[in-house]
């Protein structure tokens, strides 16, 4: 997955398409379309996955799973600021079709604030329970 923040939706899909094979999707085969609504305009990206081999196009074609949201929400998702499952639960991202793919796709979105678990060298409680 990518750790870069503040990227646009277009840049996110460009980068995804350039990966060729994504091991995190190794078990996935299917297609997902992202419909990103920006006032009156809808931009679409079609993602096809064949056992981890990724293809990205701008085709407006049928897909196993369609995710539809406004641009602000999706900008947040690709920037790692919006958690996609929470957005689905509150209706900010509408899912049509097979949601199974969404579970694997959520692996691709950046995480918000990653810092490694703190490492320090004082040992406190060990010998209990």
């Amino acid at each position: 997955m990518s750790d870069s923040h503040n990227q646009t939706v277009a840049a996110f899909f460009d980068e995804l398409g350039s990966r060729g094979h994504e091991p995190l999707l190794g078990k996935a085969t299917g297609s997902a379309r992202f419909d990103v609504v920006d006032s009156k305009r809808t931009e679409r990206w079609l993602l096809t996955i064949d056992k981890g081999d990724i293809g990205v196009s701008r085709k407006n074609a049928a897909a196993d799973c369609v995710l539809r949201s406004n641009k602000a929400t999706f900008d947040g998702v690709v920037a790692g600021e919006v958690n996609v499952l929470a957005a689905v639960l509150r209706g900010a991202v509408a899912v049509q079709g097979d949601p199974k793919l969404l579970v694997l796709l959520q692996r691709l979105f950046p995480r918000p604030s990653g810092r490694r678990p703190r490492r320090r060298h004082s040992s406190t409680a060990r010998r209990k329970q």
Binding site: L85, V88, K100, L102, G114
Partner: protein
């Protein structure tokens, strides 16, 4: 019906009502219709000519279906014996209720039948913590339907209520003006249908059809499980109860392709929990491998891939808890999903290996190689929080809504020093090291056997041996002869991390007077600073805990001691009609004579439901060895003859027989 509360459930949808079938929920009590962590009906009250009902009896038909026999009139003085009221209710995409009224008089009768309906759309977290709502309510009459709804920005939850007979519908319910002839009856179907935007995975919109489907599915489930024959009728009843409750607690998240995994328990935990699903799947493996397979897939799919402080997510970490309610939806709670636990990740590898040992299904082990390797990597790369210690630690990064204690004893005061002081963070509890050790050894076996990576296997085995050596040196309390004066000593035996030379002392403590109550092993020993016989994790007896302790005792050859633990827990189950609660009091058995239920314990709860199953395994000494199943019984004498027939596994089906020969002193010791 011990507490005047009636529950029916299907996966994560459930209805809790009083014995009249009525629901009158307050802000903080968990009655109502719940689905996906949201209350979809908080008021559902039946009156006939303005009178409330008086309950005569309640029949639990199925776990998802119940029937209330009622008469109008609540007073003790006068009950109208000329009318009978029957409510038959089944869960499924909301619930479906058939209301029937019988007129026993020789005269016709005119009635006003009223159902009051209302909803607060509370998130289960709010019910638990009594929080305030931020959105807007509405109640609308749409044609012949009443639609109750709650909206907050794009968030929408709604409940649609309709009837098969004509009714006058207003914003607060339905009224039927009816006349019933002499010795005649009237009935209507009531449908309460829930809707939520987003992930539901529930395509079946027909509640009657779903009741039929569930009945068939339950038969298939029971038929597929081994048959139990025994001289002990209570054991047979407990076994049956466990199978049915386990069926009820199965939960089909949208992501599992129609297959099911165990949800944690009613009412607070009807959702996907990493730890609970894994432990329950382990308990159930000799009886069904379906739960394990789905758990491995679902938890694997949701495995952490990045660092997210709000969710305490790390790459490779297995989730702790997933929620679907409003507070999760608005990221006011981190459960989308929350990853803060330190045991589910190593236990994921343990389950994957145990699953292969029972089923021989190497395809799944290959399918989940990536996840298992990431889990093993998490142990070394992310769990050693101080760095360079070689142990598993935990410390939440979400300091507001994350969990302080990320082990199975996850309440705030569960981990303490002997004098009761709470230690600082990070913390490395002993059982976590055992799980990590077991995960490495089992991972090594899978690496050699299935992933064909002997170098990785060698490395894991070396690390495991090193961990065991260090652990037995660093965690051992020499002057006491234990690792900790808590039940987690038993988990250590189960993991195999305990040096042979120390096992006898550890087993002695587990069965000794400070830990063993006569019913089971206490979570914390009597005499410790925080010991409290009704403290959630500091003195109560947890059935699931004891089932793994019994497994651990067997692993080190303490067959009779394992039988003593099994006998105590199974005796306790009799007092709960075969349905073990999450926990019960740690009082001495000789003192109370019956197990005292912990006040707010969840019931049924998945890993308590799985407990009798694992105890059957430990009593019969079932252990897969290559293509065979080893059977080595050590049963309490009170059980007499025990036969478990058609145990499924890589051997096909096999029968196990045993006869009780271990004498148990029921006074405790």
């Amino acid at each position: 019906m011990s507490d005047g509360i009636v529950k029916i459930l299907d996966g994560n949808t459930f209805v809790v009502s009083d014995t009249r079938g009525d629901i009158e929920a307050s802000a903080t009590d968990p009655t109502g219709l719940f689905s996906y962590d949201t209350r979809f009906l908080s008021r559902w009250v039946l009156t006939v000519n303005g009178e409330r009902m008086n309950p005569l009896s309640v029949d639990d038909l199925q776990y998802f279906e119940t029937r209330f026999f009622l008469v109008p009139g609540t007073g003790t003085v006068y009950v109208d014996a000329n009318l009978s009221v029957i409510r038959q209710r089944a869960v499924g995409n909301g619930f479906h209720e058939k209301l029937t009224i019988l007129n026993h008089a020789d005269e016709p009768v005119d009635l006003s039948v009223r159902l009051d309906a209302g909803c607060d759309f509370a998130d289960l977290f709010e019910v638990k913590d009594a929080l305030e709502k931020k959105g807007r309510y509405s109640a609308r009459v749409k044609g012949d339907k009443l639609v109750l709804a709650y909206d907050r920005e794009t968030f929408n939850r709604s409940t649609t209520i309709s009837a098969s007979e004509s009714a006058r519908i207003d914003k607060n319910g339905l009224t039927f003006k009816i006349r019933i002839g002499p010795h005649d009856e009237w009935s209507t179907q009531l449908d309460v249908v829930t809707a939520l935007a987003g992930l539901t995975g529930r395509e079946n919109q027909d509640p009657t059809g779903s009741a039929r489907r569930m009945r068939r599915d339950l038969e298939r489930w029971i038929d597929g499980a081994p048959r139990l024959e025994s001289d002990s009728d209570p054991l047979k009843a407990t076994y049956r109860r466990s199978l049915v409750d386990l069926a009820a607690l199965r939960f089909s998240p949208a992501i599992a392709g129609g297959r099911s995994l165990p949800a944690a328990g009613l009412p607070w935990f009807m959702t996907m929990f990493g730890r609970d699903s894994i432990f329950t799947s382990l308990q159930a493996l000799p009886f069904t491998s379906e739960l394990a397979a789905t758990t491995l897939r679902a938890l694997g799919d949701w495995q952490g891939v990045g660092l997210d402080d709000f969710r305490d997510e790390d790459p490779g970490r297995i989730l702790h808890e997933m929620r679907y309610g409003e507070m999760t939806a608005f990221e006011e709670r981190p459960h989308s999903p929350y990853y803060g636990n330190a045991d589910a990740t190593p236990l994921y590898v343990v389950l994957l290996d145990e699953y292969e040992r029972w089923t021989g299904d190497r395809a799944l082990v290959r399918e989940r190689e990536l996840e298992a390797r990431a889990a093993l990597n998490w142990i070394d790369e992310y769990a050693d929080i101080p760095g360079g210690t070689g142990y598993v630690w935990y410390q939440r990064r979400n300091e507001k809504t994350g969990l302080e204690n990320q082990c199975w004893k996850d309440s705030w005061d569960s981990i303490s020093y002997r004098d009761g002081r709470l230690p600082g963070f990070p913390r490395a509890t002993c059982e976590l090291q055992g799980y990590a050790y077991d995960a490495k050894l089992r991972g090594a076996r899978l690496a050699r056997l299935v992933w064909k990576d002997p170098a990785f296997a060698d490395r894991l085995e070396k690390e495991a041996a090193d961990l065991k050596r260090r652990f037995n040196r660093d965690f051992w309390v020499e002057d006491g002869g234990y690792f900790a004066l808590s039940s987690n000593n038993g988990h250590l035996l189960w993991s195999g991390i305990v040096d042979k030379s120390k096992a006898k002392a550890v087993a002695g403590h587990l069965l000794g007077p400070r830990l063993f109550s006569g019913w089971g092993v206490r979570t914390l020993a009597e005499g410790e600073g925080r010991y409290n016989p009704i403290g959630y994790h500091v003195g109560t007896v947890w059935p699931f805990d004891n089932s793994f302790i019994a497994w651990g005792l067997r692993r080190y050859g303490f067959k009779e001691e394992a039988a003593v633990v099994a006998a105590g827990i199974l005796d306790a189950a009799e007092f709960f009609e075969g349905r073990l609660p999450e926990a019960f009091g740690g009082y001495e058995r000789s003192q109370t004579m019956y197990p005292v239920q912990y006040p707010t314990a969840c019931s049924p709860q998945a890993w308590s439901t799985g407990t009798p199953l694992l105890l059957l395994r430990t009593m019969l000494g079932l252990e897969p060895q290559g293509e065979f199943l080893v059977i080595d019984p050590a049963l309490p004498s009170a059980i007499g003859r025990l036969e478990l027939l058609d145990i499924p596994g890589r051997w096909g089906r096999i029968d196990a027989f045993g006869r009780g020969r271990v004498e148990i002193d029921t006074k405790g010791r």
